[in-house]
């Protein structure tokens, strides 16, 4: 603070000594003319014009800052910024627009807090300037606060009618461009709409062209990107942001010669252009080309050592490449230089938390598990990771090279930070670079998360990314992962549900050519789920229509840098549109019959049929009311006996009314219509309750088994089945169910104890030892019994010393424990 005051004092005195009296303002005509020159790419002319005018005009100084910065002439830019700030300090700036320029100057001098303060001041001067909100919002975007930036841009749009400035640097169109960027930064919808508004207000807005280009490149819509580049460069062939994006376009299209020429051209304009390389790095990062991203970020820093955002991105990229030490070191420097970057802060905090992780290696993985659950998870994670990779490598006839880092996070927000640098991510797992990260079972409420299928899904990404040199489009790698997940285990992955049928009915499914945007800019969480399911189905369709080998061939073709259209033509012999048409036909054949069965029948709404959720039982106010409802329902059912919801509702209501046996046929019918709808309150759930209450054990086992196959995330079902089978003296079958529970809920001590008991019964002593070891690690209440059980299993497996150690530990807790005493004597006497 003292330093800032000193700087300001120095500026103001220096300025006062130079000027002595109120400054002259440049004529509006001049400023407008200069802006036009800049818009048209006549930068030299613009600079000459400005220099011929008064230096004490804040707008002149601001434009000079922009012009000199554009060419990387940092010292000059700083000098103009200081002069501009000096005008403010000496009280010579009066209007909102003018004071806003001083804020901009403070920003350029990296006086962030002062810039913000001056923007606030400018915003309090009426009439307020739209332009200041644009600069202000851009400051927040620069400082990683897209949420705040959004609010500021919106204020700017509101201020449109208030401003009466005769000259302003930016109009409302620029505010819309900023808004679009702010929305994108928060992964929120409305990006394209805001851009459209900008272009409607100003069809020649170059920043809008640039942003459009960026979005098209991100979506790999090369034609569209090219169109926007051409349009923009036609207006201003020296507009640097567009030239940078053109460079990126050439790079990612594999036009390396053109790329290198363009790069040289840009560096001729601005040898210190860090933005070029940071943009290349960001796009490489986005395309999972992490090694290249890191190189680009390094180059950005070489060109501009103050490009702190690039430094932070470099640190994060290195972490994703498994270069933990160097990544951390770079992030620490980034934090010291720029503490505003939340990605840096979050990632450094995450790295600190790694001190509490246990690390171990398997043939293909370097695994990190949190110390509180490492013992419990280790046997299952290492087995499944190796098995899934082996299976997928064989299937796709491709071996990945080197080891991958595999991390499981008991805190979902840590996983989100690891993946995105920010909390709040909705995903369960992610693969990037050499890292596979996911939630651990304890990160999610019980019954919501099948970690086994998520792991398999992620390892499918490892193989498809490796096979395609990281060039596989998002929809395709996700589609293959969804497909592989379903094939990994019975009931694993996602299946057809009411939501997807509804989306089909409403015709909101994306065409294949746009499916990438369903992942990268989904309109909602539901839209994202639908994109995933659709992608998986498309892959299954390709396998059934074109053979499994088509997938491998497509992956390899993508790896050669071919576009989606080129890959489809080369491997499938058809265009994207044609394949999409074929797929839609299959979808129609499957879904059309279901649409009517899943619609709300006449005189009903789905809300009425699904009170509080699918099939939730209602307690009526009295028999009379429920009977009336039943009559109405029965009448409706007679008109639509194939309606899923009517059958479910009737079944549920009959059960509530105590008419269990009558309920069963309706529930079975609902199951027949949509067997994959297996959430709580589904026909499975209601039938389970009926059979439990009526003591029909065989049927209970049957429906529980069906439910488990349809939805293996409800661990309590597997527990019930195991218990029932165990009672029927079927320990082998019982054990199978508990084994499967481990992929859902491996942190319950009782499950491991029960499975250990079953293994002992089956004389599978090694497995019993494993289970009891895990049981013990979960700090069960009855430590003596836990040690004893493990001692028993070790004894049976022939490990006498291990048995002795644990029986002593058991008796240490409970010296009079009869069973443990017997085992101790057995050990000492043999």
């Amino acid at each position: 603070m003292k330093q800032l005051v000193l700087i300001f004092f120095t500026f103001s005195t220096a300025f006062a000594s130079q000027v002595g009296s109120l400054p002259e303002r440049a004529p509006i005509k001049l400023l407008t003319e200069v802006q036009e020159f800049m818009q048209e790419g006549r930068y030299d002319r613009a600079e000459k014009r400005l220099k011929s005018s008064s230096f004490s005009d804040p707008h002149v100084l601001r434009l000079l800052v922009e012009l000199t910065q554009r060419e990387g002439r940092r010292d000059e830019a700083q000098s103009y910024s200081r002069r501009l700030l000096g005008l403010y300090q000496s009280g010579q700036l009066n209007t909102s627009e003018e004071i806003g320029q001083a804020a901009y100057a403070a920003w350029q001098l990296r006086l962030w807090q002062d810039a913000n303060r001056i923007f606030i001041e400018a915003a309090e001067v009426q009439p307020v300037s739209v332009s200041l909100f644009v600069d202000w919002g851009n400051l927040y975007l620069k400082k990683y606060n897209a949420a705040e930036a959004e609010l500021i841009f919106r204020d700017g749009i509101q201020a449109m009618d208030q401003s009466s400035s005769e000259y302003f640097r930016w109009g409302v169109d620029a505010a819309y461009v900023g808004l679009s960027q702010a929305l994108k930064g928060q992964f929120r919808p409305g990006v394209t709409e805001a851009l459209a508004q900008a272009l409607e207000l100003n069809p020649q807005n170059l920043q809008a062209f640039a942003f459009k280009t960026l979005l098209a490149i991100e979506d790999k819509n090369w034609k569209e990107a090219q169109d926007w580049i051409e349009k923009g460069l036609k207006k201003n062939k020296l507009f640097l942001p567009l030239l940078e994006l053109e460079c990126a376009y050439e790079y990612f299209r594999g036009e390396i010669q053109e790329f290198e020429k363009r790069q040289q051209r840009i560096l001729k304009i601005n040898p210190n252009d860090g933005d070029l390389f940071e943009t290349l790095g960001d796009l490489a990062n986005r395309n999972r080309l992490l090694t290249e991203a890191a190189e680009f970020y390094r180059e950005a820093l070489q060109r501009n050592p103050q490009q702190e955002s690039a430094r932070a991105s470099l640190g994060i990229a290195l972490l994703r490449l498994g270069e933990e030490e160097e990544g951390k070191r770079i992030l620490e420097v980034a934090y010291a230089n720029d503490p505003f970057n939340i990605w840096t802060v979050n990632t450094l905090r995450l790295l600190d938390s790694f001190d509490r992780f246990v690390r171990f290696e398997t043939p293909h993985f370097r695994i990190k598990l949190h110390e509180k659950e490492a013992v419990a998870l280790k046997p299952y994670v290492e087995e499944l990771a190796e098995r899934s990779l082996r299976t997928l490598e064989l299937k796709y006839n491709h071996q990945v090279s080197g080891k991958y880092v595999f991390e499981m996070f008991p805190d979902h927000e840590d996983f989100a930070v690891r993946t995105m640098g920010l909390p709040g991510l909705g995903a369960l797992g992610a693969t990037f670079g050499r890292i596979v990260a996911m939630d651990s079972p304890s990160a999610r409420p019980r019954g919501e998360f099948h970690w086994g299928s998520t792991l398999w899904h992620e390892l499918a990404h490892v193989v498809t990314l490796s096979l395609s040199n990281e060039k596989v489009p998002r929809w395709f790698t996700e589609g293959i992962s969804m497909m592989e997940e379903r094939q990994a285990g019975e009931g694993w992955g996602d299946y057809l549900n009411v939501g997807f049928v509804q989306a089909y009915k409403e015709d909101v499914l994306l065409p294949l050519k746009d499916l990438n945007s369903g992942f990268e800019r989904p309109e909602s969480g539901q839209a994202l789920s639908i994109a995933y399911f659709q992608a998986g189905w498309i892959c299954e369709f390709l396998v059934s229509g074109y053979g499994f080998e088509s997938l491998s061939a497509m992956l390899k073709a993508f790896g050669q840098g071919l576009s989606t259209e080129e890959v489809f033509q080369q491997v499938l012999g058809a265009s994207v549109e044609e394949i999409d048409g074929q797929f839609r036909q299959e979808m129609e054949e499957t879904l059309k019959p279901l649409v009517s069965k899943l619609a709300a029948p006449e005189n009903f709404t789905l809300v009425h049929l699904l009170p509080g959720g699918v099939g939730q039982e209602e307690e009526g106010e009295g028999e009379a009311e429920s009977e009336t409802d039943l009559e109405t329902l029965l009448q409706a059912w007679q008109a639509a006996p194939e309606n899923y919801f009517l059958n479910l509702r009737l079944g549920t209501q009959l059960k509530s009314a105590g008419r269990q046996e009558e309920a069963i046929p309706y529930l079975e019918k609902a199951l027949e219509i949509l067997p994959t709808q297996a959430a709580r309150g589904s026909p499975y759930d209601i039938l389970t309750r009926i059979y439990e209450e009526t003591g029909q054990v065989d049927k209970l086992v049957e429906v529980l088994q069906s439910w488990w196959r349809a939805a293996p995330q409800f661990a309590e079902n597997a527990h019930r089945i195991a218990s029932l089978l165990s009672d029927r003296d079927q320990p082998q079958e019982a054990a199978k169910y508990l084994e499967e529970v481990m992929y859902v809920d491996p942190l319950q001590p009782e499950t491991h104890q029960q499975l250990g008991d079953l293994y002992l019964r089956l004389n599978e002593t090694e497995k019993a030892v494993r289970e009891y070891t895990v049981f013990l690690s979960l700090s069960p209440v009855d430590g003596a019994a836990a040690h004893y059980r493990l001692a028993q299993a070790l004894f049976e497996s022939g490990d006498r010393q291990g048995a002795r150690n644990h029986v002593l530990l058991s008796l240490e807790i409970a010296p009079a424990y009869p069973e443990a005493q017997t085992l101790l004597l057995k050990l000492v006497r043999q």
Binding site: V781, D782, G783, L808, E812, A816, P818, L825
Partner: protein, 323 residues
């Protein structure tokens, strides 16, 4: 002590309206269960059912003299009268007091919520102080109960609270797990076929924590145990680092299960059993010294004693015809 006619009337009224009125004899176990106001039907139901379950356990399993007072109907005067009655009777061997309900703390006093004026910590303290050498066990399964541990803890008393401080104000789950412990093999960690107050506390303490973790919620209650005015067991880990301490705790010999020990048939078995008790004491002493010994030496000595005990128990079983 002279009993006035009004008091006499109240006494009879009390006898007809509580669950198990019995005359007190010296050496008996007395259990007082007071359930408080629920406020909401869900809590009321819980408090009442927990109170009834505790009553049933103490009556059927422990054959204690049980007084259950429903704080929705009973007033403080009724409770104080019962306290007075017990204080003025021959002192019981053990006295258990269960408070099940809501409570508050106004920075001065703990107040157990019942109909009318609340029962305060000072009133409970006065009652306890009047019991002399009677082993007294308080289970305060209420919110804001933490201060009772330091306030009431002293020699011959064990104070169990469902919360660690006055600021833990959510209705606790503690009692539901405590009741589960009473009949749980899992809770019987020393495998002597009996569940002690210490074991029930540790079981409940752990189960409450596991419940919150499973639900993904911040834990809003942390139970504590103060034993003989000296030990405050807020964390189970204290026991893990001091395994030898448990036998010296009063709470470890306050049993909530009926003793299943049958008298030995043979004199030799009785002598051996007596030797067994000595051996167990030696084991506890050794455990107490664990941190002062090299690990190898400790486990060698422990094994020696455990083998002796095991052989001894085996011999007893043979003598008693159990093998």
């Amino acid at each position: 002590m002279r009993i006035g006619s009004f008091s006499l009337f109240s006494f009879f009224f009390l006898l007809t309206s509580v669950a198990a009125p019995q005359g007190l004899a010296q050496g008996e176990t007395v259990c007082i269960i007071i359930t408080g106001l629920g406020g909401m039907p869900e809590y009321e139901e819980n408090f009442l059912s927990w109170g009834l379950a505790t009553e049933a356990h103490f009556q059927d399993e422990l054959e204690s003299v049980v007084y259950r007072l429903d704080g929705r109907e009973k007033k403080k005067t009724d409770i104080l009268q019962l306290f007075e009655q017990i204080s003025s009777s021959p002192p019981p061997q053990e006295l258990w007091l269960f408070l099940i309900g809501h409570a508050t703390h106004d920075n001065r006093n703990y107040k157990f919520n019942i109909s009318g004026p609340d029962l305060t910590d000072q009133e409970i303290q006065k009652f306890f102080d009047g019991l002399g050498e009677t082993r007294t066990y308080l289970v305060a399964a209420t919110s804001s109960s933490g201060t009772l541990a330091s306030q009431l803890g002293q020699k011959n008393r064990v104070i169990v609270t469902a919360t660690k401080s006055a600021t833990e104000r959510q209705p606790p789950l503690f009692m539901s797990f405590f009741l589960e412990a009473l009949t749980s093999e899992e809770a019987d960690t020393d495998k002597n076929a009996k569940v002690s107050l210490l074991e029930a506390f540790l079981f409940s303490h752990q189960k409450v924590a596991a419940w919150f973790e499973e639900k993904g919620r911040i834990q809003t209650e942390h139970s504590t145990l103060q034993d003989n005015g000296q030990v405050l067991l807020e964390k189970k880990t204290i026991l893990e680092t001091h395994p030898g301490n448990q036998g010296t705790l009063l709470a470890s010999t306050a049993y909530l299960s009926r003793a299943t020990d049958q008298p030995y048939r043979t004199r030799e078995a009785r002598e051996l059993a007596s030797r067994g008790v000595e051996l167990e004491r030696e084991i506890e002493d050794l455990k107490f010294r664990k941190n002062q010994m090299p690990e190898n030496e400790y486990y060698r000595a422990l094994e020696e004693l455990l083998v002796k005990l095991a052989i001894l128990n085996e011999s007893i079983a043979e003598m008693e015809g159990e093998l």
